[in-house]
């Protein structure tokens, strides 16, 4: 003010200052936005990498390699003259006719070593397959039959993954030559892996399937649903509608919130100590697994059910009370039906979490090697994620692709469940 000349000057320099700082501030703004975009990009990129990795590792799990042979079921070769006699069946050599059938293509392979290599072209259970066929059809003895065998793990790896650095080829050069020749003749062939969907676990990748784990998961989830859903909904109704505000109610709420954040493995310890240790329930059965998962999902279901009850507007309640309904009638006849879609959505999401849970089930022994498909709530079983865990840790190369194929099946289930939950919410939920 005192020096008018410098005033304009100062104003100019201030404008300049502001202009300059504005530039800097906008640069900062852009940089900040860039950070945000980068963060989102990193997250989404990991998602893409995860899915591509699993699909690229696992799609071959849905392909099986087979060897189809004309097997002459020669009694003399097998030391078997009566296929109905269990004692003879137990002693007979069922590998011999398979080798014989292979030799039809490679007459030059007659030394002991060659024959051993030939026998390692079909899977380890090929002779059992011949035995079972003969047991079922004793009159096949002496006839020639076309039988499709699963190829040996090493052959399968060679056919599916030759040239893939992630796999090592364990065939001898001779076996590789044989495989190539049989492939060109169509004896060795690849097709859709139906075995994967129709059998239980096995020591041999080509015989291993996911059906046992799938049935185990269904049984376990059944128990979880039957326990967690009614109990969760009832608890939510109590806490929202009837609970007096006292210390006990507070304590229940604190417990629910904490249980929702307790590591899942702790629930496994609970199952081991209480259900197996205290109550003497058997290990590795769906009942115990279902109980443990029910306790684990309960907080999720309670929390989402309470939110659903809260979202029912008070006008509904007031109207019902106004025409003389009792508190319980208001809840059961009016609030509950309106809150049901929200409760169902929350429960499905909770069940999806339980379906993917592994750690607590390891502790209650659902990690056993089980070939048979479980037939009840008290038969030993494993579940999908645990089966994936077992396969991922197996030494044979063929199990890795089975594990990723199993992951795809599991993810398909989870995505279906979540999509159903979203659909349900969109379809049934009313906005007030």
């Amino acid at each position: 003010m005192t020096k008018p000349g410098s005033h304009a000057e100062r104003e100019g320099s201030q404008a300049e200052l502001i202009r300059r700082s504005l530039k800097r501030r906008y640069r900062k703004e852009r940089r900040f936005r860039l950070y945000g975009i980068t963060a989102i990009f990193i997250a989404l990129f990991s998602l893409v990498i995860l899915f591509t990795d699993i699909i690229s590792k696992g799609y071959t799990g849905f392909i099986k390699t087979t060897v189809t042979l004309e097997v002459h079921l020669d009694g003399e070769l097998m030391y078997l003259n009566d296929a109905a006699d269990p004692e003879q069946i137990a002693m007979a050599d069922f590998q011999a006719p398979i080798i014989k059938a292979m030799q039809a293509y490679f007459p030059e392979a007659s030394s002991r070593a060659d024959m051993r290599e030939l026998s390692r072209m079909t899977g380890s259970y090929a002779s059992n397959q011949v035995r079972d066929l003969l047991k079922e059809n004793p009159d096949w003895l002496g006839t020639t039959r076309t039988i499709e065998f699963p190829a040996h793990d090493t052959v399968s790896v060679y056919v599916k993954h030759a040239g893939d650095p992630g796999y090592s080829i364990r065939l001898t050069e001779q076996q590789q030559r044989w495989t190539d020749e049989l492939l060109s003749k169509g004896v060795i062939d690849t097709g859709f892996n139906d075995v994967f969907f129709t059998s239980g676990d096995s020591r041999e990748p080509s015989n291993a399937g996911i059906l046992g784990a799938l049935v185990g998961s269904l049984l376990t989830m059944g128990i979880t649903l039957v326990i967690a859903f009614p109990v969760g909904v009832a608890a939510a109704i109590y806490l929202e509608e009837f609970a007096p505000s006292n210390r006990l109610t507070d304590f229940i709420e604190v417990n629910i919130n904490n249980l929702a954040a307790v590591p899942s493995i702790i629930f496994g310890l609970l199952g081991l100590a209480v259900f197996i240790g205290l109550f003497g329930m058997p290990r590795s059965v769906p009942v115990v697994g279902g109980l443990v998962l029910a306790l684990m999902t309960l907080p999720t279901i309670i929390i989402s059910s309470r939110a659903a009850i809260k979202s029912v507007p008070p006008s509904i309640r007031e109207a019902a009370e106004g025409i003389g309904a009792s508190k319980m009638q208001v809840v059961l006849h009016h609030v509950l039906p309106l809150a049901m879609p929200g409760m169902l959505t929350g429960s499905i999401i909770g069940m999806a979490q339980a379906l993917g849970e592994t750690a607590p089930l390891l502790l209650i022994g659902m990690v056993a090697f089980i070939v048979e498909i479980p037939d009840g709530f008290f038969s030993s079983a494993t579940v999908l994620p645990v089966q994936i865990f077992i396969w991922a840790g197996s030494a044979e190369q063929g199990f890795v692709e089975l594990a990723s194929a199993g992951i795809m099946v599991l993810l398909a289930f989870l995505i279906t469940m979540n999509a159903f939950a979203i659909w349900l919410r969109k379809r049934l939920e009313r906005r007030w």
Partner: protein, 462 residues
């Protein structure tokens, strides 16, 4: 009859009781001039009968089924002749499984001592008796209860009130399951932990730097005691969790900020569900990804720059765990950021601050307590995460600060100690429960603090 068959039977009986009571209430009402002269609707009399029929029977059934196995086991074990009485807990469980296999016909009776095969016969007998008594008792109680309620269908009794009160109490019991679960957890770890500290002094457990729980088969073997120092497990857990948080916190926070401040509604509606998908992927899938893809990749990368990395490096497990936790951090921070009142934001923007300045100087400080709470919850999840580390981290308890080395964690050790062959009572098995107890306490503390902080923060702006 088995429990699985009795359960539906009781429900059928309850339905029958419902039907009978319904008919009776109408019959009672008819001479009085219709149901309007009853104190409650017929359905309530019927429901009361069904409840009387089902609830006592189900309670008896549940209690019987829960303790039947244990009681029979004890009776059978007590029946064993003196020379076969097992000396140790491990031996006891072996004998028991022998007996039950024998009873199930999976074992040839000729292959075991007489005492054992007699015990198997006894086991079978007891099981049949127990099953018979259980069925009788349950059916009797159900029928009695139903009949009692049936006789008490009278126009002067208000059935609605008693039904509603019973239902309300049932709801309370369901809510109390949460308390029972917590008590169950505490008790299941506390007893074994106390027994563990009877074998291994607590100071050795808490401050020991050596962890090798392999107890020897013979007492005179070298290193037969095993070492139970928990420090290497703690440092391992902390290292992996720290790596995970280093990834998850910035990525999760920044993506939440971008989504809530900058993104268009359309982008938000696409990106948010995708992020949530990351949260929905089961941990076993992350474990598979970490063990078979990320860990070899990191090893190769380290080799390329001349470093030596273990094929089960802490870095791989931590990285993947970080990815897993991103959506957790981002959705919690998103909630918190959106809870900051609009007026604060508008005020700052009106003063000429850019969006990033508003974010950094106004919203972020206001949301900080909530964000801290979210981060604590995420940390507790990282510490308790099991499958990723079981599959991708090692078993060797190295005390190291090198993320390329293999480390082991508390959860990995719990799983390793409790899967496979185990005997109750050995220090090895008990150690798993002691570790579980520590894990429970640590995560509980983190959760309680986090929930308190978040709640306080919410109240501030509500």
């Amino acid at each position: 009859m088995q429990t699985a068959d009795l359960l539906p039977l009781v429900l059928v009986l309850a339905a029958v009781a419902y039907g009978f009571a319904y008919m009776r209430s109408r019959a009672v009402a008819a001479p009085l001039g219709g149901i309007r002269n009853l104190k409650a609707l017929p359905a309530y009399y019927a429901a009361r009968a069904a409840l009387w029929c089902a609830i006592p029977a189900l309670i008896i059934l549940g209690a019987w089924a829960a303790f039947e196995g244990k009681v029979i086991q004890n009776v059978v074990m007590a029946s064993l002749p003196a020379e076969l009485t097992p000396q140790s807990a491990g031996h006891a469980s072996l004998t028991l499984s022998q007996i039950s296999n024998l009873a199930a016909g999976k074992l040839n009776p000729a292959m075991v001592p007489d005492g054992i095969s007699n015990a198997a016969v006894l086991l079978q007998e007891l099981r049949e008796q127990s099953s018979r008594f259980k069925s009788l008792l349950v059916i009797l109680i159900a029928v009695l209860g139903g009949t009692f309620a049936w006789t008490r269908v009278a126009p002067t009794i208000n059935a609605r009130k008693s039904v509603e009160l019973t239902l309300q109490r049932l709801f309370f019991v369901c809510a109390a399951v949460a308390i029972l679960t917590t008590i169950g957890i505490v008790f299941s770890v506390i007893f074994e932990t106390v027994r563990f500290f009877g074998k291994v002094p607590m100071s050795e457990f808490l401050f020991g730097t050596n962890w090798s729980p392999q107890t020897a088969l013979r007492a005179d073997q070298v290193g037969s005691e095993g070492a139970f120092g928990v420090i290497p497990l703690f440092t391992g857990t902390l290292m992996i969790s720290a790596i995970a948080m280093l990834i998850a916190v910035p990525v999760g926070l920044l993506s939440a900020v971008y989504l809530s401040e900058y993104a268009s509604p359309r982008m938000r509606s696409v990106v948010k569900p995708l992020l949530e998908m990351l949260a929905g992927v089961p941990t076993v899938v992350y474990g598979f990804f970490a063990a078979l893809t990320v860990a070899p990749f990191i090893r190769d990368l380290a080799l390329m720059v001349g470093l030596e990395a273990s094929s089960q490096s802490a870095l791989a497990a931590g990285l993947v765990m970080g990815i897993m936790i991103i959506p957790f951090v981002s959705s919690l921070s998103d909630d918190v950021i959106n809870a900051v009142p609009r007026s604060l934001r508008d005020g700052s923007l009106a003063l000429g601050a850019t969006q990033s300045e508003t974010m950094k100087n106004v919203i972020f400080p206001a949301a900080l307590p909530g964000i801290m709470g979210g981060i604590l919850l995420a940390a507790s999840r990282a510490i308790g995460e099991t499958m990723i580390v079981v599959m991708a981290a090692g078993l060797a308890a190295n005390l190291t600060a090198n993320p390329l080395d293999s480390v082991t964690t508390v959860t990995v050790q719990i799983v390793t100690l409790l899967t496979g062959d185990q005997e109750f009572d050995s220090a090895k098995t008990l150690a798993a429960f002691a570790l579980g107890m520590m894990l429970f306490i640590v995560t509980l503390l983190l959760n309680v603090i986090a929930l308190k902080v978040v709640r306080k923060y919410r109240e501030q702006y509500d």
